[in-house]
Amino acid sequence: MAGDLKSYFEAVGRTPLLSRQEEVELSKRIESGDQRARDQMIRANIRLAVSIAKKYSNKGCDLEDLIQESSLGLIKAVDRFDWRKGFKFSTYAYWWIKQSVRQHVAAQSGSIKLPAYAKGTLFKMRQLTEEYEEEFGIAPTQQEIADLLGTTLSTLQSIIKSAATTVSLDGSAFQSDPESNKRMHEMLVDDSLPDLDSEIDKNHLTHVVREALTNLTPREETVLRLRFGISELDLDGSLL
């Protein structure tokens, strides 16, 4: 799979970019129904589609799917491009490609599908946070965001929680190295286990105290036991 992508990138890299004049000429031919001109326009701009797709590769979607979606966005842009407006094609296509990829990411990433209102709330929350930070220099609290959006704190928190990117426990632990043998579940800390350092310290201290206990007189040892509510101690045993 990785080999296929590599050869695809190589093929994409070989296609020459278009000049402004060539873009206009091709656009005119596309308008007159020239299919070959359309194909050439798409091929010449596929590099842009790939570069945008790559930017979203860390959002939990396959790069191949992202490239496919960005290519669909590119095709849409080619079909709708109006050369008369004077913009460069890449400027126009960028937004179509980006929209297409974003829609795919929103629909595919994460195992929890969010309803439209939740996505809307998240979008508004991000926008609001940016504006707030710009104006006051600090990030707003979740309570402030909830108040400004006219929702409750618990609703906002549950939307944020649901929108969090899910990670497969069997997936690679390092996103930068998908071929790594280390799995995510191998890297997670088991909080139920005692801390190794404190266990070593405790064992050492237990040993020290145990040594000290052998220096107690029988009277001291009995008083200590009675005070601590311990029935009996075999301090000569080698259980530690």
Partner: protein, 97 residues
Amino acid sequence: MPMPKGFKAENGYATTKQFAGGDDYRSIAEKMTKDGYKMNHATARNIFLSALQKIARPVHGVHNIPVSGDKLLKTAKDPRFQVGVAEILNTIHSRQK
């Protein structure tokens, strides 16, 4: 009339409530007297603190704390130290079971 200013231990006092099944000094004195070690509650307390000071000495060494009579007594009286020692003794006891 203001209350007289008394001594207040820095970290409070250890009580029998902190040691499940532990006896107070009077009960310890009674039991010890029955077993042939005649003593009153104050002696029971002194013996208890003396035992704890013996334990505190090597612990001070581990943590590089100066070993002097005052400091050892202060550690022995510290409820946190007493709870810690009780915990260790309970660990030893439970491993022996």
